[in-house]
Structures are given as structure tokens and as C-alpha cells.
């Protein structure tokens, strides 16, 4: 059997086995006790490349991608424009097929892009230091909570109830490991004590809205001696005040919006930035600038005594990778958007979402669920169950919103980004009018 991904020929193998001094490959597996040696696995038969393409294309064809229709679904994963240069750069095999840059002399490409990434995340969040990236926004939040517990020596984590429910769930999973308690509290009922290591706050929240008085929350958190963790939408930071300016100690976020497709939920990217004083408690890879003996500037992995390969059971986290290729996509995205572009994207989201909200609010039977300031998502109360509304929208070729009726009565969470044209929004409004009219 000849395989495209195995280079040795039968003759090579014979020559190599002779050099090794064995008669057959079986001898090399002699350490495996006979009782554990198995017969053939029951995988389907192998496919050639054209057959593979046909099969996977057929599987892909059984899906109906949100990206292929007017779609208003958000809830933690977003459709934003991805400039072609992003795919071009992350498609370079020099980046894609390298690994963790342990050998700095031949990894300057990856290392310098990480330094760029850290710099851009710091600029975006107005924080002092950032790591090289984490798995996703949810795990970055969980790691931030663990970090706060380690710094403060306190055993309770406080979460605002308006955080994405999946993110709350991930915090609970991580907290279970360290044996930490998790308290969930509403914005208007903060009950922080000196047992709390932190309060984690979404900006904007799961429903798309900003806290009406973030300064008051910040004061309450710091009065309790806890760390103020903010989970921010990075696109919103093109327009809105960055958390570093309102007292955040740690800023995390879901970085998928920055140049990555929806990908059915992953791989995404965790953003993680904090104040300088917490640098040595931070999880994840960090790259620093230094020089060689000739004074040439170069970049290296640094502050590694926090990490598992050095510190083992005393490491700040067990994380090894930095979601590097996705972080590179974010880096290229932010460089391509630049100073003006990111603001423009954020403004387009803001204006289009507000246009949609205002038009839907005028429809009979529909109403906006909240009055607070929102960015690109908002909740509409529907005259019919949101699941039915979504189904009716899909029948009309429109990807609806997220049914949040378990949190908000008859609530439909809609998301509008720069990808939605006015025509699409108008179509949505007309469809909603039709659907609502039958109620």
C-alpha cells in the first residue's frame, strides 16, 4: 500500500530494518505484551484525494451556513468582514506548520508577530501587558478568575449574571478544579464581600448592552478589595471607552471577531491583558524583546518561570499553546483595519444595529426589551415565541436571532454587523412584520 504521506519505500524499510538489526518491524513492537496486540481497527476504507474532496464537500453541503444568507445571529460568535490579506498570511506554511518558538533564532517570524499581537491587545484594551493568546474568550475569563484567586488568596469568584451563560459555565468548570465557589449576582444587586477574589463583568453583556454605571461597579469591586475583570467585545473597543480607562485589572475577550470565520464555534481566540503588577501571575505564553551578542534586536519567549514546563505543579496554568494561528489572524486583521478601519467597523455595527432596532420597535407587537446603551446586539420581545419567529424567518431564507426566552420573556437576541446591508435589514423588518401580523 502506497500512501502519499509516508516517504519510505518497501526497499527503504528493508534497508533501515537491516541497519537497526531486526528482521521485521514486529520486533520493534516487542515491548507491547502479546495480550494487548490488536487486529485491524474498524475504520472505513481509505479514500484517495478526489474521493475525499467529494465526500467532505457532500458533508459540507448538508449544512446551511449562516454565512450564506442574511443572518442576524450573534451570542458570542460574530460575522465580521475578513480582509483577504488575513487568509493569505495565515495560509503561509512558514507560520502554519511551525510550532511553539522555542528555538528563537529560527522562529523570529512567529515571535515578532506575537509581540505585535501583545502590543495591539494592550492598545485596544488600554492595559499594560497582554499574553500571546488563549483558547477562547470563555477559558480566558476562567483563567482570569483563577488568577484573581491566586493573587488575592480568596476562595470565591463573583460573576455578573449578564455574562454569556456558556462563559459562566466554563468558569464553574475551572472553579470546580481549584475548589473555588462561584457567586452569580445581578448588576443592581451586587453583594461583594472580602471573600471575593474578583467580579467579572461583560462589556457589552450577553444581551448586547453596556452597564449603565460602570464606575459605580468598579468602585464597589475595589472597595471589597477584589479584582475587576472585564470581558469585552474587541470590535466594540474601536468605538467605546477601553476597560483600562475605567479601572479594569484584567481584560479578557473573545477574539474570533478579529479576522476568524465562525467555524462552527472554533478555533477561536482568548484575549488576556492585565495590569503590570500582575504580570508574573499571568497564565499563557509571553514574548519579550531583547538582543543578541551583536546588539541586533530579537524576540524570545520570556517570564517562563510561570509556566508548566518549568514550574510543573506550581505553574500559573497548564496551558501550553497560545492559539497562535488564530492570534496571527487577529494581528493581521488589526494591522489591516488599523486606526481608522476598526473605528469604522464599530461605527457601522452601531448604526446598523440601531437602525434595525428602531425599525423593529415600530412594528406592532414588537418591543425592545431594554433601554440601556447597546452596541451591535439587542433583545426584541416578539409577539410569538422566538423559536417560531426564527423558524418562520428561516423559511424566508433569513438566519434569525438567538432565542433567549429562557432569560427574557419572548426575547429574541438579534445581532447586526457591518456585514448586514440595509437591504437585508429591511428584509428582516418586513419578514418580522409578516410573522408578527399572524399572531
Amino acid at each position: 500500500m502506497t500512501l502519499p504521506y509516508i516517504a519510505n519505500t518497501a526497499a527503504d524499510r528493508q534497508a533501515m530494518l537491516a541497519a537497526i538489526g531486526v528482521a521485521s518491524v514486529e520486533e520493534l513492537f516487542a515491548d507491547i505484551p502479546a495480550e494487548f496486540c490488536i487486529g485491524e481497527l474498524s475504520l472505513p476504507p481509505a479514500l484517495s484525494e478526489p474521493e475525499l474532496v467529494r465526500e467532505l464537500s457532500a458533508l459540507a453541503g448538508r449544512n446551511r451556513p449562516a454565512d450564506g444568507m442574511p443572518c442576524f445571529l450573534g451570542g458570542g460568535a460574530y460575522r465580521h468582514f475578513i480582509p483577504s490579506v488575513v487568509g493569505e498570511v495565515i495560509g503561509r506554511s512558514e507560520f502554519a506548520t511551525a510550532y511553539t518558538p522555542y528555538q528563537a533564532e529560527i522562529s523570529q517570524g512567529t515571535l515578532q508577530t506575537i509581540f505585535e499581537f501583545q502590543s495591539m491587545v494592550c492598545e485596544l484594551t488600554a492595559m499594560d501587558v497582554a499574553n500571546a493568546g488563549m483558547y477562547d474568550g470563555a477559558s480566558a475569563l476562567a483563567e482570569a478568575c483563577l488568577m484573581a484567586a491566586a493573587i488575592s488568596g480568596r476562595r470565591r469568584i463573583a460573576l455578573l449574571s449578564t455574562l454569556h451563560p456558556h462563559h459562566q459555565a466554563v468558569v464553574r468548570t475551572y472553579a470546580f478544579g481549584r475548589g473555588l465557589a462561584v457567586d452569580v449576582m445581578p448588576p443592581d444587586g451586587l453583594a461583594l464581600s472580602e471573600e471575593h477574589a474578583c467580579l467579572a463583568v461583560p462589556q457589552p453583556n450577553f444581551f448586547g448592552y453596556f452597564l449603565p454605571d460602570v464606575e459605580a461597579v468598579e468602585r464597589a469591586v475595589h472597595a471589597a478589595g477584589a479584582l475587576f475583570i472585564v470581558s469585552a467585545d474587541p470590535i466594540s473597543l474601536g468605538l467605546f471607552q477601553p476597560p483600562g480607562e475605567y479601572g479594569a485589572d484584567v481584560v479578557v475577550g473573545e477574539g474570533q471577531s478579529l479576522g476568524s470565520p465562525l467555524n462552527f464555534g472554533g478555533p477561536y481566540l482568548g484575549l488576556f491583558a492585565c495590569r503590570q503588577q500582575y504580570l508574573r501571575q499571568m497564565p499563557g505564553r509571553i514574548v519579550g524583546r531583547t538582543s543578541d551578542a551583536q546588539g541586533r534586536t530579537g524576540y524570545v519567549l520570556t517570564i517562563q518561570t510561570r509556566e508548566q514546563h518549568i514550574r510543573r505543579e506550581r505553574a500559573t496554568s497548564n496551558i501550553c499553546t497560545s492559539q497562535q494561528l488564530v492570534a496571527l489572524a487577529a494581528t493581521v486583521y488589526l494591522a489591516a483595519m488599523g486606526k481608522q478601519g476598526l473605528r469604522q467597523v464599530a461605527e457601522l455595527c452601531y448604526h446598523k444595529a440601531h437602525y434595525a432596532a428602531q425599525r423593529i420597535a415600530q412594528l406592532p407587537g414588537y418591543a425592545l426589551a431594554f433601554d440601556d446603551l447597546f452596541f451591535k446586539e439587542f433583545v426584541v420581545r416578539c409577539p410569538r415565541p422566538p423559536s417560531e419567529v426564527n423558524r418562520a424567518l428561516l423559511e424566508r431564507g433569513i438566519g434569525g436571532g438567538l432565542d433567549v426566552s429562557q432569560y427574557v420573556e419572548d426575547g429574541l437576541l438579534l445581532c447586526v454587523t457591518e456585514m448586514n446591508t440595509r437591504q437585508e435589514i429591511d428584509r428582516l423588518v418586513e419578514a418580522l412584520a409578516e410573522i408578527g401580523g399572524g399572531a
Binding site: F29, L59, T110, D136, G137, A138, T173, R422
Partner: protein
């Protein structure tokens, strides 16, 4: 050629310094709706320092940086324990099919049946390959898979009223992630020594095993590249004391189609799709670290798992699930590539993968054994660990050997790991490399051994051909510069 006019190196500066006010690399549509009122300025950002580059400069910049990287597609990359095999190009195309990459994780399930079918197949195949029962594809990477597995152990023991089992045994040869994971899962770590053959010391293990032990975390083959022939007995010892056997599947590339974790007595194992199943390492992620478990631990798998319901597929939450480990369902984009890999190889192909990986490692062992000290002098599996102790006696350290390999055009092996080998050189060739590539690599290491004798200075000052020399890591850590800052005034 020096002194004359030449094009400056665009990669010498950061994007922040390369640009000019007013330049941009993107074009966005004008606003086609009436503009809404913006909130008061106090809620808005005053300034955003991001680069201002033209598109051509942006492309040239990142291309310049890419050329400073060594990668699998550049050449031989025998980084031990990382399984740097070739990544098939067709997988990149397939993962980018709009029917996969354009799927929103919260779409109605009826619109994502193809994706769920793919995940369901993958779950079944991973269960078959490992001889275990239940699979979750949710963990984002090997390390998160480990954490998931250990949290499952913790929850399972708690349900059985055995929360008093607070210790986890980890061999001294283990990856750093194992002890770090056990600590994150709330366990105390007890290190267990290896014996003179490089296997787990069964006597040390027996004395460490008591009613307070939750699990033994074992890598098989271990990080010395050795298959522990006592595995059956070890599993029995662990289980007899009421503890569980956790498997680190990082080295599965040695065992495909040969032996299965489930048959050997492992209760829960994590896999590394980016190692064993050929998905690109990405410069350090995204990986993917599915967890596979025996029936008694299956109810504790993280949510969601893909289940068949009637003719279709649904996302289900196992009965006693430890909960979510990520916002959604794992690294679907990576899973598509792993699926494609398994479809291309089939059962016979997988066995060929391990056969060739093991032949290649043993061939390197045989060729280098005359010059480099082999601390555990026996046949290896998919990787071989030498010690640079003979060369160090001549004043050349393993780090120097690694850097000298760069001059010869190779990526160095993993060095100084596992910790139990002095001056370790951990070489994992993988099955995708040819005999010619291995010969060239071995020739280089044999040449370096001669250089260590005849001209050690050349080795100690390597690399000589890389774009940059050895970097001052001490200063980097002592006086960290971790981000760009606008230069003030004269730049001081």
C-alpha cells in the same frame, strides 16, 4: 555588497512604526443607514493606536516575517514529543469550505447536520482507535484535554464518596503539563521515580499507592520513547487500590493499529489531534485535545457530545457532565482536518503511520548510538532520547549542539527534556520523513560530534547562519519589554 543604496528590511520595524497617518490596508462600505446618535464622548474612546499601513506594506511585512520562521514545510523538524509530521494541503481547502467555516455555532441543529455527522463519526473512530467508550471533542488542546480528564476523575470519585483521594501520582519523566494539570484540578502531586530501564518503578509506585491516591497519570509510550512492558501490571496495581489510570495520549503516534489504551486498562485518555492526526501546529495552536473514557467515566464527559437521535444528530449533555470547557464545541476547524486525515489513511494506513514512525526513530537510534550516549539502551518507539553527556565532557553542551544543527539547516530536537536525562536530546522523526532526510540529519549530528572534538568553539558560538544570534534571555526576563510603546521625543 555594503554601503550602497538598498531596499530597507521591512521586517526590521514593527507595524506601529512602519505606517503613516492616513494610510489604510482595508476598504469598508459606506454607511447605508441613517446614522444613530452616538453616546456622549465620556463613553467613547478618545484615541486608538493601531498601525496605519498600506496593503502592500502589510503583505510585505508579514511575508518578511514568515521568512524568518522554520516550519515543517521548510524541512526536517524532529522536535521530540511534538510529532511534527507533514500536514496534508487538501485539509486546508476542506476546512475552509463555506459549508464548514461559515457555520455559526448557535444555528438551528437542522441546518448543521453535516457538521454533526462528521463529529459523530470522529467520536466513533477515536473510540475505536483507543479502545475506549465515550468521546468528547470539546477540549481545545492537549493541556485542556488533560484538565478535562482529571476533572472527570475528581467528579467521579466525589460521586462515589471518595473525595478523600486527593493525591495524583505523576512519573518523573512526565510532561510538565501533567503535574500542572493535576494541580489545576485541585490535586496534590506526588512524583514517582522511573527505574533503570526507563519504565515506571513498580516498587516506588506500590509504596506511593494508597487510599489517598485518586489517579496515576501515565504517558505511553513514555517521554523516553519507551513502551512500558509492565503496563498491564501497573493498571492492575492502580485499580486494586481504587485509583484510576489516566493516559496522556501525546505519543499515540507510536501505537496506531497496534495497541489500544482501553485494552491496557486506562480509564480516561486525552489525544492531541495536532500531533497524531496531522493537523497543523500553527506556530503554537490551535490544537485540539479530545477526551476518551471508559464507560464508568463517560457520564462525566464535558458538554456537549454529539449523539444520534432518530435519523439525525443532536448536541447532548452527559448525565453527570463536568460542564463546559469552552464556549462552544471544541475546535471544529481542526476536527475537520483530523477527520480528513483518518478518511485518507483508513485502518491499514494508520498502522503504516506507526510502523514507519517507529522504524524511523529506531533508524536514527542505530545511526547515532556510536557517537551519542543512549541512557536507556534499548529499542525505542516513535522517538529516541539521547544524552549529550559525552559531548559535554568536551565542553560542548546540548544547547550548543541544537544551535549548530540550525547551521546545517535542521530544526533542533527537543532539548533538556525529559528532565531525568542529563543534557537530553529528544528526537522524533515521524513517519512522513524519508530515509534520505534522516541520513542527512544523522550525518549533521555526527559531524557536530566531530566538531565538538576538533573545533568546539564553532559549535559553542552557533548558529552562524541564522538571521540572528543567541538572544539575551536573562535580560528579557529581568527587564521585560513586552509591547510596543510610542517613542517619546528623541526616542530615549
Amino acid at each position: 555588497m555594503s554601503g550602497g543604496p538598498r531596499q530597507p528590511d521591512i521586517g526590521a520595524r514593527l507595524t506601529f512604526d512602519l505606517g503613516k497617518p492616513g494610510r489604510t490596508a482595508c476598504s469598508l462600505p459606506p454607511c447605508d443607514v441613517p446614522e444613530a446618535d452616538l453616546p456622549p464622548p465620556s463613553l467613547l474612546r478618545r484615541e486608538l493606536n493601531l498601525p496605519e499601513l498600506s496593503q502592500v506594506d502589510l503583505v510585505r511585512y508579514f511575508l518578511a516575517l514568515s521568512r524568518r520562521n522554520y516550519s515543517v514545510d521548510s524541512g526536517f523538524y524532529p522536535l521530540g514529543s511534538c510529532t511534527m509530521k507533514y500536514n496534508p494541503k487538501v485539509h486546508e481547502k476542506l476546512a475552509c469550505l463555506p459549508g464548514f467555516s461559515g457555520l455559526h455555532p448557535l444555528q438551528p441543529l437542522a441546518t448543521v447536520q453535516g457538521a454533526l455527522a462528521l463529529m459523530h463519526d470522529l467520536q466513533r473512530w477515536l473510540a475505536d482507535i483507543t479502545g475506549l467508550d465515550g468521546v468528547s471533542l470539546a477540549p481545545a488542546a492537549g493541556a485542556q484535554g488533560e484538565l478535562t480528564g482529571m476533572l472527570m476523575v475528581k467528579a467521579y470519585l466525589a460521586d462515589r464518596g471518595e473525595a478523600g483521594r486527593t493525591r495524583v501520582l505523576v512519573p518523573d519523566s512526565a510532561h510538565g503539563t501533567n503535574p500542572a494539570t493535576a494541580a489545576m484540578a485541585g490535586f496534590q502531586v506526588v512524583t514517582v521515580a522511573s527505574d533503570s530501564q526507563g519504565n515506571a518503578d513498580t516498587q516506588a509506585l506500590a509504596s506511593a499507592l494508597d487510599d489517598g491516591v485518586a489517579a496515576l497519570m501515565l504517558t505511553l509510550p513514555n517521554t523516553l520513547g519507551l513502551f512500558d512492558p509492565n503496563i498491564g501490571r501497573i493498571a492492575e496495581m492502580v485499580h486494586r487500590k481504587g485509583a484510576l489510570l489516566y493516559g496522556d495520549g501525546a505519543n499515540l503516534n507510536a501505537l496506531l493499529g497496534r495497541a489500544r489504551f482501553g485494552d491496557m486498562g486506562f480509564d480516561v485518555v486525552h489525544l492531541n489531534m495536532h500531533k497524531t492526526f496531522g493537523t497543523p501546529h500553527g506556530g503554537g495552536g490551535p490544537g485540539s485535545g479530545p477526551v476518551v473514557a471508559k464507560g464508568h467515566l463517560t457520564p462525566y464527559l464535558p458538554t456537549p457530545v454529539v449523539a444520534k437521535e432518530g435519523e439525525g444528530f443532536v448536541l447532548a449533555t452527559p448525565e453527570r457532565s463536568i460542564g463546559r470547557v469552552g464556549a462552544f464545541y471544541g475546535h471544529f476547524g481542526v476536527l475537520v482536518r483530523a477527520y480528513a486525515y483518518l478518511r485518507t489513511l483508513g485502518a491499514e494506513g494508520l498502522r503504516q503511520v506507526s510502523d514507519n514512525a517507529v522504524i524511523n526513530a529506531n533508524y536514527v537510534l542505530a545511526r547515532l548510538r556510536p557517537a551519542y550516549h543512549l541512557p536507556y539502551d534499548r529499542r525505542c518507539m516513535h522517538e529516541v532520547v539521547f544524552s549529550g553527556s559525552r559531548q559535554r565532557a568536551k565542553g560542548v553542551r546540548t544547547l550548543d549542539i541544537a544551535k549548530r544543527l540550525i547551521d546545517y539547516g535542521f530544526h533542533p530536537p527537543t532539548v533538556y527534556f525529559p528532565l531525568i536525562v542529563d543534557e537530553a536530546l529528544m528526537i522524533e522523526p515521524t513517519e512522513t520523513e524519508s530515509k534520505e532526510a534522516l541520513d542527512a540529519f544523522c550525518d549533521a549530528l555526527l559531524t557536530i560530534d566531530r566538531e565538538a572534538e576538533e573545533e568546539p568553539q564553532v559549535v559553542k558560538e552557533a548558529p552562524h547562519t541564522a538571521p540572528i544570534g543567541r538572544l539575551d534571555e536573562a535580560t528579557a526576563a529581568r527587564r521585560p519589554v513586552l509591547r510596543w510603546r510610542r517613542e517619546v521625543g528623541d526616542g530615549s
